[in-house]
Amino acid sequence: MATMAEERVSTQVGKVQVYRGGSGTAGAPIVYLHSAQGETPGLAVLEQLADSHEVVAPLFPGFGESEGIEQIDDMEDAVFHLLDVFDVLGLDAPAVVGLSLGGWMAAEIATRYPERVSSLVLVNPAGLYIPGQEIKEIFGRPLDELARDLFADEQHPVAQLMTSLSTATTADPGDLPFELLRPVFQSLAATAKLAWDPYLHNPKLARRLYRVTAPTLVVHGTRDGLIPRAHAEAYAAGITGARLVDVEGAAHMLPLEQPDELARLVGEHIA
């Protein structure tokens, strides 16, 4: 598999981390937008995609060492920041793949600036409100409980890490090296800025979906404990020509659980 190298890119709000790899031989570059988990570093599916495509994965401000979250207050600011990232990296109209919060960001870019997205893949996307099909709470829940909603396989190393962090913080958070907790607090705070109220959605997004021109694939993990399938269905229904694919055996963190399958689906979709 191709490797992803980390670099720092200057944007209007500050320097952000970007992981890049692969070459541009097979069509448009792929931009990957991560979820509230900030899963980008070391993500296997990106390395697989980089075998045949140029892959660019920025870390959003507030995640990792990316700066500038204090200058971002809402999704509109987030969209402008991501456009800056596109511009700085010379990405005119990449294929955009986003997971959950990142899927929501991708949909916001594609509705507002359809010409900047040549192809769209929304994986367990947030962003919509569907009465009776609410997205489960992510803020303030014990990490072990959250891990069970995020992963189909409780033995997944990240699920295990969340569970042990939860146990340790219940015992005495003061005993843990703070460096272990810092990224969790930082990324949740950044997510809250975009997604606390309204909770993980933009009430105007659903009626703007008709603006999307990119060929769109919506991917739903059948065991997603966080976002009901109705959200994937609503995206697929709202975006002209969109396809909905179910991935068995995957929960919310589908790219971590089924990297081969996601790489295959993305590769086929953008080919």
């Binding site: 207050d73 803020f139 303030g140 005495d172 958070p173 003061g174 005993d175 703070f178 907790l181 810092r182 607090f185 930082q186 949740l188 705070a189 950044a190 997510t191 809250a192 800025k193 606390w196 109220d197 909770y199």
Partner: protein, 389 residues
């Protein structure tokens, strides 16, 4: 030394089979209005009684959608107290500023209470507890910014002639011109409670307000908190005045140490085990990363983790005993902490009316005079131990 009687107005009748949190999601079906009618009037009587007994002030506070403290509007309580008390300061500690939109409402209501009471209001400003950001669906990541902006609006409304325009990031008010204006000029005394956030301490120090240490931690946490606050005053370029700091603690006095524990223990543990669960939820972005690091250091000593009475006594979580014991302990701790305001919780959890009244009486007649003699008003109380704590 100024001595205040602080009331949380807790819900004392959670059914024994309910073992969930007392906050945010605690089902309001558990609230019985017949209990409410009785306790609200009783609790107000207890504050009025404190005024009659010679306390320097009474304190109420604001919490929402919970069983821990039944005052969603402390200003309603404050306005009743403004009429029913005669002499005591009325400390509203405080209004959760980000929850008032526009925040000129706080300037108006506080000024109103200051007017009715003839200038007895102490104006408390708080960010609001973590649970309130769930209960109001208000973005915790904006809490500090909104608090700072609301504070500026209120202080400007009180001290500068209106009308004026205030265009901030969160509030855009074209005509600020609040009536009534406060009786106390240039403005009522300002108190700000804090749980150890460095930003709050610096803010209080820079404005020369008073910092109230939030209770339910081991005494060692208070040592650190008030030392940090003194340092914040030094950073702001002046020497700390003890009247700028307040220590809030549960107090219970009975004839003997044994009787005090026997009468108090179960009520204290109802408070700890039934009313505290859920209070310590800290939503994302509510506290800065460096303050979280500081607050986590004391997290294990939070009263919620208490299991035995010995731990309560050793950690100074409540000051309980005979008049002599309580006097000695309070004297020792007040010297150690160097705080010029003592905020006592004389009713806690399920502590019934008769024991609460007796507690207030014994404290006022046997403990208060000794404390006043030990710490004359206006004289620094910071003991030698504070320097080495």
């Amino acid at each position: 030394m100024r001595i205040f009687s602080f009331h949380l107005m807790p819900y004392p009748a959670l059914p024994s089979e309910y073992d969930g949190p007392a906050w945010v999601t605690c089902p309001n079906e558990l609230y019985d209005p017949t209990v409410g009618t009785q306790i609200y009037n009783r609790y107000l009587d207890e504050l009025v009684y404190a005024d009659e007994l010679g306390f320097d002030g009474v304190c109420v506070n604001e919490h929402h959608q919970n069983a821990y403290g039944l005052m969603p509007s402390p200003n309603l309580m404050g306005s009743i107290l403004a009429r029913q008390t005669k002499r005591a300061k009325i400390a509203i500690v405080g209004n959760a500023l980000p929850l008032y939109d526009p925040p000129t409402r706080v300037a108006e209501e506080f000024a109103l209470i200051d007017n009715i009471s003839g200038g007895r209001l102490i104006a408390g400003f708080v960010v609001g507890g973590g649970p309130e950001y769930y209960s109001f669906s208000m973005n915790p990541a904006h809490a500090r910014e909104r608090f700072a902006e609301a504070h500026d609006i209120i202080m400007k409304a009180w001290t500068e002639p209106g009308p004026f325009e205030f265009i901030g990031k969160h509030y855009k008010l074209r005509y600020v011109n609040t009536w009534p204006r406060p009786v106390q000029q240039p403005h009522p005394e300002v108190w700000i409670p804090g749980a150890g956030s460095l930003e709050t301490m610096d803010f209080v120090a820079q404005h020369r307000y008073a910092y109230m240490g939030i209770p339910y931690f081991h005494m060692s946490v208070f040592d650190r908190t008030f030392r940090m606050f003194r340092e914040a005053c030094e950073r702001a370029g002046y020497e700390y005045d003890p009247l700028q700091a307040g220590w809030l603690t549960p107090i219970y006095v009975a004839e003997t140490d044994e009787e005090a524990r026997r009468q108090y223990e179960e009520h204290f543990f109802y408070f700890v085990k039934r009313l505290l669960p859920g209070i310590n939820i800290s939503p994302p972005g509510y506290t800065s990363i460096r303050s979280i690091e500081n607050i986590l250091k004391g997290a294990k000593t939070f009263a919620l983790n208490l299991e035995t009475w010995d731990e309560v006594v050793e950690g100074g979580y409540a000051i309980v005993g005979s008049p002599q014991t309580v006097t000695e302990k309070l004297t020792e701790y007040l010297r150690r902490l160097g705080t010029g305001n003592l905020l006592g919780l004389f009713q806690l959890g399920t502590l019934p009316a008769d024991l609460t009244r007796r507690n207030l009486e014994l404290f006022a007649t046997e403990v208060m005079p000794a404390l006043r003699a030990e710490f004359p008003e206006g004289k620094p109380v910071l003991g030698n131990q504070a320097a080495v704590a």
